[in-house]
Symmetry: C2
Subunit: 369 residues, 2 copies
DNA sequence: TGGCCCAACATGTACATACAAGCTCAGTGA
DNA sequence: TCACTGAGCTTGTATGTACATGTTGGGCCA
């Protein structure tokens, strides 16, 4: 009884809409065909012309019909096609596009996204919070199906939290790579930087090095974590670590400060470090130059270890020992997990997390003491 | 008289719509405010409630109003903002994203595009014609305001010409970078590769080298043009060029063929070349290794010259002499010219063309014989 | 035969009425 | 005091009528 009452609550004009759509979908009325006139429909379905008009208005608004005054009402051409494979868009927001390992991440994401039939919207923040906001707002000006985000300057708080929260509110899935804002709960992928830092230091310690200088960029969490692992390795091996053997620098100092300090350290006689752990290969190559300038040979006088296994690591004459991680794969994985979330296939909770263990690649820049 | 008749032809519900919009725009009714009820409006403007409903339906459809049954009709929040600076999108289609100099081009384009308030859609072809088509079709599934295209494998014809022609037909401006399809007339930006090849060879010839081997990737026009300049320099200097001093290779052979041939050439005794001109820095670094393997020192026994002035050029111990060109600037210029075209500011005809003259950067990998 | 006009029919505009359904709030009753 | 009810407002659904406007085609007239 109740059921029937509820059934009956469906308005007539909606019922008519479904009926007409059925006729169109079934092919009884084909694209381009003229519909029966309003009066005819009204008679046939035993309703007033006004109600028919209301239905037709809806269908016209949805693009399924078009009406020509004086001529009649007609079925639109392409509607189902346009509706079924409408292409969706995924956004990726990175700090830098051109530098170093980022292109590989972007490339991985792009190829995975393209393969799944999505488009990729790209934006970068240049590691600037204001630009992060700008880019996010611009990307979201048209509906996005999902976002891959590489957080900007994550060690220094996050004025754009509200924007990220509004993403959740709008039900737009997103995933973070490389780093993560602690305030935001979302799936993320990152290299196990602490483990990498640990492996680097541990490798050198196991080779008998006692005075190891570590150069870390500390305005992002990656550098902080690598440093953490670096310290941990010293603790586990019970090797004392002098504070002046830990060199912090910021992104904009990368071509100045580490080099200068390296030169000082290398000139410091008997207390001179016998090994450098570098934040990444770029810096390692740079400090390799510092060693040359100081008249020291690598690895005989100084061991150097990099991070990322970039193309720079093997471009040098002394091939760099470094920590390798799947740069492009992270982009691919991020895209795939995100698309799983978009398409509702994912069991990946908000807590989902994938850590990539770096692999130590021993080449010729490190040597037993 | 006629005029008045025409005035009177404007339907009441349209008039009411304009009136209400006026009230909203003027601030008399503010976003979030409740509108007068349908009956009230009907009374005030002396029309039936049905007609008022028609107007409100239109405005609701346009997103200016929303209606809540039982509560009333309200003015939407953000409509004017969303309407006035609706964000447009520009696409960029490159062969590779992560390799080498492409990230710089993409970055330049991204930053210029973002600055102008556009969004950037990114896709790559992996130098594959089928994927080029796929990517183009996908990007165009939603309207794009313009496209930056780096042609795919341009030395081998172009099965996708029709797609590009349809761009013109749809009035979507586009611009090509790095290379150009000869069948398509459009503005383009490129490095003057022929001049670069010429400068490289000329530099070595002027240093007294007589036997110079040139390694060129010839499945794209860039390599072909660099080779052209390489040959031209020999002609102008009246220096004979033996055919086996010109090595062609294809993209997928880049890690094999040139290296092998270089090793052969370097082992060929008295006829051994005294200098290498390389398609790019990547290859130059690779052939630097071949020289080391052959026990030859650079630049004393062998001069090597690269192309692109990439980060690899200074990562090596022997800093590479190379040809520099504004990688990122090309992306910036492409974006700016394209946006000028989109916004109709451009006097740039379809024939517009900008050639970047490469600049020879002399470092330590070349030496007077 | 050719041009014109008008009837017939299509959708568009406008108004009237009636009742259904959802929200608010004041007043009632336990 | 608190919960319920119902009056009175809102928008939503449904139908009726009337006339305007645009399209087509057949029939009339020159």
């Amino acid at each position: 009884m109740r059921c029937i009452t509820i059934e009956k609550k469906i308005p007539k004009y909606i019922q008519l809409k479904e009926t007409l759509l059925g006729l169109i979908e079934s092919g009884a009325i084909r694209p381009g065909d003229q519909m029966p006139s309003e009066n005819e429909i009204a008679d046939r379905f035993d309703m007033s012309r006004q109600t028919v008009r209301q239905t037709l208005g809806l269908l016209e608004q949805e693009g399924r019909l078009y009406r020509l005054q004086g001529k009649g009402t007609f079925v639109s051409e392409q509607s189902p096609a346009a509706k079924t494979h409408e292409v969706q868009t995924v956004g990726i927001l990175t700090t830098y596009i051109s530098d170093y390992i980022f292109p590989h991440i972007v490339r991985g994401a792009e190829s995975a996204v393209r393969e799944k039939g999505y488009r990729l919207m790209l934006s970068s923040t240049d590691n600037d919070k204001a630009r992060e906001r700008e880019a996010l707002e611009m990307m979201l000006s048209e509906p996005l199906s999902g976002l891959i985000i590489e957080p900007t300057r994550s060690a220094e708080g996050n004025p754009n939290v509200s924007l990220y929260l509004s993403l959740s509110y709008q039900n737009i899935p997103f995933i973070m790579i490389n780093q993560r804002y602690p305030e935001i709960t979302c799936p993320y992928l990152m290299v196990d930087d602490e483990d990498g830092g640990f492996q680097a230091a541990d490798h050198l310690l196991s080779l008998g090095h006692q005075r190891i200088a570590g150069f870390f960029k500390t305005d992002d969490l990656q550098g902080v974590n690598r440093l953490k692992g670096f310290i941990k390795a010293h603790q586990e091996r019970s090797c004392p670590l002098s504070p002046d053997m830990v060199i912090h620098y910021k992104t904009d100092e990368k071509w100045t400060r580490p080099y200068e300090i390296a030169m000082q350290l290398l000139a410091s006689g008997s207390a001179r470090p016998t090994a450098f752990v570098c934040y990444n290969d770029e810096l390692a190559v740079h400090l390799l130059e510092a060693a040359r300038q100081s008249g020291l040979s690598v690895p005989d006088d100084l061991s150097i270890i990099g991070f990322d296994d970039s193309s720079l690591a093997t471009a040098t004459e002394v091939k760099l020992t470094t920590l390798s991680h799947p740069k492009m794969q992270m982009g691919v994985d991020a895209a795939q997990i995100l698309i799983d979330m978009i398409e509702g296939r994912s069991p990946a909770s908000a807590e989902f997390c994938k850590l990539y263990k770096p692999e130590l690649i021993v080449r010729n820049s490190t040597k037993k003491l």
